[in-house]
């Protein structure tokens, strides 16, 4: 366990964390402000990845794919809110769960009808496929660094937007007390629709960036959904700052735990036991963290309502 390896794994954890944040940012606002349990957020990740991969394949240019996928995911979020989600605001959580779970199945099937069940081909652009030496002898893929940078840029952008702009103030007010915000003359309907579309858009950005490194296939966003629910619980529902910090924590714990825990166990018990138990315990770490946070801070680390 050299310093180089620890540094490299920290970068891997950061990269996983910022990707999670992009998904969780929208989700925490949707749950915190609109009080909607929205399970189909993973579908937005998939839509972003497919839009980027399909446009990149048609035009032969990765960046055009990225650029066009942003309005596509924004539009899909906007339309979805208008068609379905706004009718769910006054329903209870169970009905929201059922409706949005149905949406997951709907979107997976839609993608399967449109693009077939096979994974789409998507690869890195030449300009992002090299390596940088983060330390001598530790080459790191440029693309992964680029993902970290884009994720951080989005995080800073969301932070400035929420804390420094007029609309951001409305969003914060909406998260804290939606009825009072509406009573003060703010068009909460339009605000909700806008937040929903922006949230979908950030999930889409996560999907676009995942496209070149993972399989672009139906249901690809679902594994991220569960982890991002953990993130918003740890971070505090409705808090973008909480989501960011929790996403980085979850990304680091998951990555470092997965790699170093089996190695550590190997020095305590025999190799066969360590190889068997290591991955199992490592995959529990994130949930153990969530349980511990819930014990000491039941509303999360940075609760939005207070």
């Amino acid at each position: 366990m050299t310093l180089t390896l620890i540094l490299e794994q920290t970068f891997n954890g950061l990269q996983a964390g910022v990707t999670l944040f992009l998904v969780a940012a929208g989700l925490t606002l949707i749950l915190g402000i609109m009080d909607v349990v929205f399970l189909a957020h993973g579908a937005q990740v998939m839509i972003g990845a497919y839009a980027a991969a399909a446009v990149a394949a048609a035009t032969g240019n990765f960046y055009i794919g990225l650029f066009l996928a942003i309005p596509v995911t924004f539009a899909s979020g906007y339309v979805l809110e208008f068609l379905l989600i706004r009718h769910l605001y006054r329903r209870d959580h169970m009905e929201q769960v059922l409706a949005t779970f149905g949406l997951i199945l709907f979107f997976n099937e839609l993608i399967r009808i449109g693009f077939g069940p096979a994974a789409l081909y998507s690869d890195l652009p030449r300009s992002l496929s090299g390596f940088v030496e983060i330390l001598p002898g530790a080459p790191y893929p440029i693309y992964r660094l680029w993902v970290i940078l884009v994720g951080l840029a989005c995080a800073i952008g969301i932070h400035i937007f929420v804390s420094r702009t007029r609309i951001g103030a409305m969003v914060r007010a909406g998260a804290n007390n939606p009825e009072m915000t509406a009573a003060l003359g703010i068009n909460i309907k339009i605000l909700f629709r806008f937040i929903f579309a922006v949230g979908a858009c950030f999930a889409g950005v996560a999907g676009m960036m995942l496209g070149p490194i993972t399989a672009v296939q139906p249901g690809m966003g679902e594994p991220l959904l569960i982890l991002s629910l953990v993130v918003i619980i740890i971070g505090g529902v409705g808090s973008v700052r909480g989501a960011f910090i929790a996403a980085i924590i979850v990304g680091l714990i998951d990555t470092l735990g997965r790699v170093f825990l089996p190695a550590m166990l190997r020095s305590v018990v025999d190799q066969a036991t360590a190889d068997g138990a290591g991955p199992a315990v490592a995959s529990m770490l994130v949930y153990i963290t969530m349980a511990v946070v819930l014990i000491f801070r039941p509303t999360g680390l940075f609760p939005a309502k207070g």
Binding site: L5, Q9, A118, T214
Partner: protein, 384 residues
């Protein structure tokens, strides 16, 4: 209204028509939804192609195949198996991609005195002491394919190897099969999460150990993720990649040129030269527009086996079909398939390389035969 009446009349006519031929009913279970849906789709294509080749009849009987989607969940698989056996009253249950799902349906089906024929999964748990006379594999026992990989790498004089597989029964079988024939230095055995999409942390750890070679088992979409990330992380400069069930007809359309040159072992390849395989591959490509994967070939073979069993015994009776299948010499895309005493095939295992075909499509080609008539290592423990 008129149309509805016509349809009703037609339906009545069909149900009232005297049953001339007997019908064999097959419950075919595979994964049709989720990330592994493409595997199930290819298997379904292959089953339909086999039925088409046989004119809709298996061994002279009308064939009725019910496809069910197990969603890659063991509990769903078990429920479906019970439904197929008890309410659909099928004569044979076949299919099944995943070892953990096969374990879930093994008892409910075999104990109902119905044949269970695996088109893919071959866990060690049903090959040895846990074997059952009503189970047949038309694929392989999990250990067999990596055993060939182990033998090839041992013979190639590779000094050290790093192993990686998902943390479930098949992953454990694969690595234990590999180690049965590879006697060099195993630097690490890493078990990843089933369905994992990002392997970068594992690749970073691998780089730090610098093994001469790496052998992975990452089936389906995991294979696409793994190979993409391996290439992107520049791992080719660190270690040589070998694989089983990772680079195949399912992952190659998404990997294309990036997978060229990767070696793996397999019991089947699209270029295996025999009449059945040539027809299967040519017709599959013509009908579905792409190379079939080994999953598809094994699904096709499963239907051929049922056809063979009924044709030769003249019956869909479990005991009679079992006797035919147990005798082996089943015509398949892999030639005449021999059967071991535990009802797993004895077969050749080939080294395959990823290449471009004459049309520039990325596929696999056999470069050598690692094992001839290779039997699995659990058969001796199996007593029916």
């Amino acid at each position: 209204m008129k149309k509805a009446f016509t349809i009703a009349a037609l339906a009545a006519a069909i149900t009232l028509a005297p049953a001339h031929a007997e019908t064999v009913k097959i419950g075919y279970m595979t994964t049709l939804s989720g990330g592994a849906g493409i595997i199930g789709k290819q298997m379904q294509n292959a089953v339909e192609l086999a039925l088409e080749h046989k004119g809709g009849k298996l061994g002279g009987m009308d064939a009725d195949v019910v496809f069910v989607d197990d969603q890659r969940k063991p509990d769903v698989a078990k429920q479906l198996a019970n439904r197929l056996v008890k309410s659909d009253r099928v004569d044979v249950v076949a299919g099944i991609i995943w070892s953990n799902l096969l374990e879930a349906v093994h008892k409910p089906v075999t104990r109902s005195d119905i044949l269970l024929i695996s088109s893919n999964a071959g866990p060690s748990t049903v090959a040895g002491e846990g074997c059952h006379k009503n189970f047949f594999s038309m694929s392989w026992q999990n250990d067999q394919t990596p055993e060939a990989m182990g033998k090839h790498m041992q013979d190639a004089g590779i000094k050290s190897v790093y192993l990686m597989a998902p943390n479930y029964q098949a992953g454990k079988d694969m690595l234990s099969g590999f180690k049965r024939y590879y006697k060099g230095n195993v630097k690490a055995e890493v078990y990843t999460k089933l369905g994992q999409s990002d392997f970068q942390p594992e690749l970073s750890a691998l780089r730090a150990t610098a093994p001469e070679a790496t052998m992975v088992f990452q089936p389906g979409g995991m294979g696409i993720n793994f190979v993409k990330q391996w290439k992107q992380a520049g791992m080719d400069g660190v270690s040589k990649l070998y694989q089983v069930f990772t680079v195949d007809g399912v992952s190659l359309p998404a990997l294309k040129e990036s997978a060229l040159g990767i070696l793996g072992t397999q019991t089947w390849s699209p270029d295996l030269n025999n009449a059945i395989n040539n027809k299967f591959v040519a017709d599959y490509k013509a009908k579905f527009g792409g190379y079939p994967s080994f999953y598809a070939a094994q699904a096709y073979d499963t239907i051929l086996a049922i056809d063979h069993a009924i044709a030769k015994s003249g019956s869909k009776d479990t005991d009679k079909m079992r006797a035919v299948l147990a005798a082996g010499n089943i015509p398949t895309t892999r030639g005449l398939l021999k059967m071991n005493s535990n009802h797993f095939p004895i077969q050749n295992i080939y080294l395959r390389e990823t290449v471009k075909d004459a049309d520039g499509i990325v596929t696999t080609r056999v470069t050598e035969t690692v094992f001839t008539d290779h039997a699995d290592s659990y058969a001796a423990k199996c007593k029916f």
